[in-house]
Amino acid sequence: MMRIGWTGFSAMVAAVTLAGAVAITGQGQAPAAGRQGGAAPAAGRQGGAAPAAARPAQGGRAEDGKPNLNGVWQALTSANWDVEAHQAEPGPHPEIMGAWGAQPGGMGIVEGGAIPYKPDALKKKQDNLKNRTLVKVTNDPHRFDTGDPELQCFRPGVPRANYMPFPFQIFQNRDQIMFVYEYKGSMRTVFMDKHQEAPVDSWMGWSNGRWEGDTLVIDVTGFNGHQWLDRAGNFFSDTAHVVERWTPRGANHLMYEATIEDPAVYTRPWKISFPVYRRLEANAQLVEFNCVPFVEEMMYAPIGLYNPPNRSSR
C-alpha cells in the first residue's frame, strides 16, 4: 500500500481505519498517477521517475492522504425518470417522440422500495406526476408551481444532479471539493475547511463536507424547496436535509448513499444508494450543456414572447 506514497501519521490512521484502502490501491493504478507534476513531496519514492506532465490524478490518494476523487464520473441508473422502481413507459409525446422520448424501466434506488411520504405529500407527488410537463412562465414566484424543473433547464439540486444521465467532474483539494455537473454546468462547492450555515437558500443547496475514514460525508442544507428528485414528481421541501456518503470501492467506482430527511414531507428519513463509475475514456471531459437556449421556445412561445409579432398581420 505504501507505494501510493502516503505520508506520516495520517496515512497510518487511514490505513488502520480503512478497508477500502486495499481496494483502492489494489487496482493496479500507476503509482505516479496519483501524483502531479512538479514538486510532489513523495515523488522521489516513486523510483526516482520524473513526474510526468501534469495529468489529472486517477484514483489512489491525494496529497493529504485522503482518497483521490478527482475525475469525471457518472451514475448508470434510470433514477432520473423515477427514483422508485418503475416499468418502461411511453414518453409524454409518443406521437412525435416515439422511442426517443420513452422512459426506460428500472429497479429504483430507494432502500426499502418506497418513499415514506406523509399523506398530503403523497397527493402532491401524484399531482406533480400529472402536471410534470406543465410550463408556466410568470414574473413572480408562481413560476415554480409547474412541472419538472429539469424540463425548463433549472438547476437539479442534490442528490438528483448525481444520478442524471450526464457525467460530472470532481475537483478536489484539501480545503474544498468542487462538483461540476455537465447538465447546465451546475456546480457546488463542498467546504471541507470552514463549515457554515447556509447563508441563503438555493437550488444546489449549501454543502459542508468531512472525511469519515475514506468516506466523503457531505451535509447539504439550504434548499429553496423547488427541487424535484426525478421526472416522476418525487420531491422535497425547503426543510430538506440531505447527507451524502461517497465511498471509493476501487480506483474506478464509488458507492453513493444519501439520507434524505424532511419532516414536512416524509414520515421518516430514507435512503438512496447506487454506484458511480469513472468515465475511463482517455478523452473524457464535460461537454457544455447550456440548455437555456434549448428551452426558450417552449417557455416563451406560448406567451407570445418568442417570435417577434408579425407586424403585417395586425
Binding site: R35, Q36, G37, G38, A39, A40, P41, P51, A53, A54, R55, P56, A57, A62, E63, D64, N70, N139, D140, P141, R143, P149, F154, R155, F171, Q172, N173, Q176, M178, V180, G185, M187, T189, E197, A198, P199, V200, D201, S202, W203, H226, N283, Q285, L286, V287, E288, N290, V292, P293, E296, E297, Y300, L305, Y306, N307, P308, P309, R311, S312, R314
Partner: protein, 380 residues
C-alpha cells in the same frame, strides 16, 4: 482586500433577479449581514484604501509565487475582474501608455466618484445601494491608460470588410425592428441568462462615467479560481459560468464541437499559466466577444505577481473580424472570501419577459426606442 459579505448579499438579490420581490429575498436570508465596512459606504475611504493597495502592489519586488502542494504555482482565490480602466485608450491621450502614480489615482478617484453619483430619474439600479459598485468591491487604480497594449495606440485594430458588413446589417435590422421584440431575435445573452458577464475574456474594460455601473466597471465581477492537480477551474459569480481548463496538454475537442465558452487548454510556462481557447460557437443572434465570430481564438496568460495581484494578459485573434490580433495586459486584485454564491439567473429570470413585453408594446405604439430612434408604426 475587502469584506465582501455585503456585496454577496446583494449579488444574491440580483440573482434572485431583478425581482419584484425584495421582500422574498430578505425573508430568505437567515442571518443579518455584518455592518458594512467603511470602504463600502464612503468613496473617500474606498479610494484611499485602493490607492494604498495599488501603491503597495507597484512597489512590490522579489515576490516568490506560492505553490500548491502538488507543485503548480498557486493562482487560487477570488479575483475581481471589474476595472474602470477603458479597453481602448481615449484618443486625446495619443501615445501616452502610462499614467504617473498620482495620475492613476486621480483617474480612479474621478471614475469612482462618478460611479457613486446616480441620477435617480435615469437609473435602472443604483448598484451602490447593493454595495456592488466597483469602488466598493476592491477595484484598483491602473498605471495603464488602456487595457489594450498592442496595437501601440491602445485601440482596437480596424475591422475586416466582412465584419463591417455584419455590423452595418445588424444596425440596419435594429433600426427596422428592435431585436428585443422576441426572444428568438434577442442577442443579449445576459438578459436571456445564457451567459453571464465576461467569463472569457475575464477583464473587458470599464466606461467611467457611464450611468450604469454594469458598464462603468462591471458587476458581479468575481472570478473564483479553483485549482486541483492538473486543472484550473474558473467559476464566475455572474451566472455561475464555469470554465474547466485542463493543464495536461491534451488536444482540443474536435472542430465540430462548439461551445459558448469555447474549449480551453492550459500549460505552464514557468510560473505563468497559458490558456488557449478555440471551438467557440456561433451564438446567433448574438455575437462572440466584441462582435467576433466562431473563428475567435483567445490566448490568456495568468501570472501571480503579488500576494493579492494576478497579472492577466490576453491576445484576441479573429481573422473574420479584425485585421490583426490585439492584446491586453492588466491585473486583477484578490478579494475575500474565497467562494462564490449560487447565481440562478435563468430560474428566476423575471426580467426577460418584462423586457420583451415592453419592447413589443413600444413597437405597437410606434414610440421611441431606447436607443433614441423611432420605430416605424406597423402598417395598418
Amino acid at each position: 482586500m475587502r469584506n465582501r459579505m455585503l456585496r454577496i448579499a446583494s449579488a444574491l438579490t440580483l440573482a434572485t433577479v431583478v425581482a419584484l420581490s425584495v421582500a422574498v429575498v430578505v425573508a430568505q436570508t437567515p442571518s443579518r449581514p455584518k455592518a458594512p465596512p467603511k470602504t463600502a459606504t464612503s468613496t473617500d475611504a474606498a479610494i484611499e484604501a485602493s490607492a494604498e493597495a495599488f501603491k503597495k502592489s507597484v512597489e512590490l519586488k522579489n515576490f516568490t509565487v506560492p505553490k500548491k502542494p502538488w507543485g503548480e504555482p498557486d493562482l487560487s482565490g477570488v479575483w475581481l475582474t471589474a476595472t474602470y480602466t477603458r479597453l481602448q485608450r481615449p484618443q486625446e491621450l495619443g501615445d501616452k501608455e502610462f499614467y504617473t502614480e498620482a495620475e492613476a489615482i486621480a483617474e480612479y478617484k474621478k471614475a469612482a466618484e462618478s460611479d457613486a453619483e446616480v441620477d435617480p430619474r435615469t437609473v435602472h439600479y443604483d448598484w451602490k445601494e447593493y454595495a456592488m459598485d466597483a469602488w466598493q468591491g476592491g477595484a484598483t487604480p491602473n498605471l495603464r491608460t488602456s487595457l489594450i497594449v498592442d496595437p501601440k495606440n491602445g485601440r482596437l485594430p480596424p475591422l475586416v470588410p466582412e465584419a463591417q458588413q455584419r455590423r452595418a446589417a445588424a444596425a440596419a435590422a435594429a433600426r427596422e425592428r428592435d431585436p428585443a421584440a422576441g426572444v428568438k431575435t434577442f442577442g443579449n445573452l445576459y438578459t436571456r441568462c445564457v451567459l453571464g458577464l465576461g467569463a472569457i475574456p475575464l477583464v473587458r474594460g470599464g466606461m467611467p462615467g457611464a450611468d450604469s455601473a454594469a458598464t462603468a466597471a462591471g458587476v458581479t465581477a468575481e472570478a473564483f479560481f479553483f485549482q486541483s492537480p492538473g486543472y484550473l477551474t474558473i467559476v464566475m459569480q455572474s451566472n455561475n459560468d464555469v470554465r474547466i481548463i485542463p493543464t495536461d496538454a491534451r488536444p482540443h475537442v474536435p472542430g465540430q464541437v462548439r461551445q459558448w465558452l469555447g474549449d480551453s487548454r492550459g500549460h505552464w510556462e514557468g510560473t505563468t499559466l497559458v490558456v488557449e481557447t478555440t471551438n467557440f460557437s456561433d451564438p446567433k443572434p448574438a455575437t462572440n466577444f466584441l462582435g467576433s465570430t466562431d473563428s475567435l481564438q483567445l490566448v490568456e496568460r495568468f501570472t501571480r505577481v503579488g500576494p493579492n495581484t494576478l497579472r492577466y494578459q490576453y491576445t484576441v485573434t479573429d481573422p473574420k473580424t479584425w485585421t490583426r490580433p490585439w492584446s491586453v495586459d492588466t491585473t486583477m486584485p484578490k478579494i475575500d472570501p474565497s467562494l462564490i454564491y449560487e447565481f440562478a439567473c435563468h430560474e428566476q429570470n423575471y426580467g426577460l419577459m418584462n423586457v420583451v413585453t415592453g419592447t413589443q408594446i413600444r413597437e405597437r405604439e410606434g414610440t421611441r426606442d431606447m436607443r433614441g430612434g423611432t420605430f416605424a408604426r406597423p402598417p395598418e
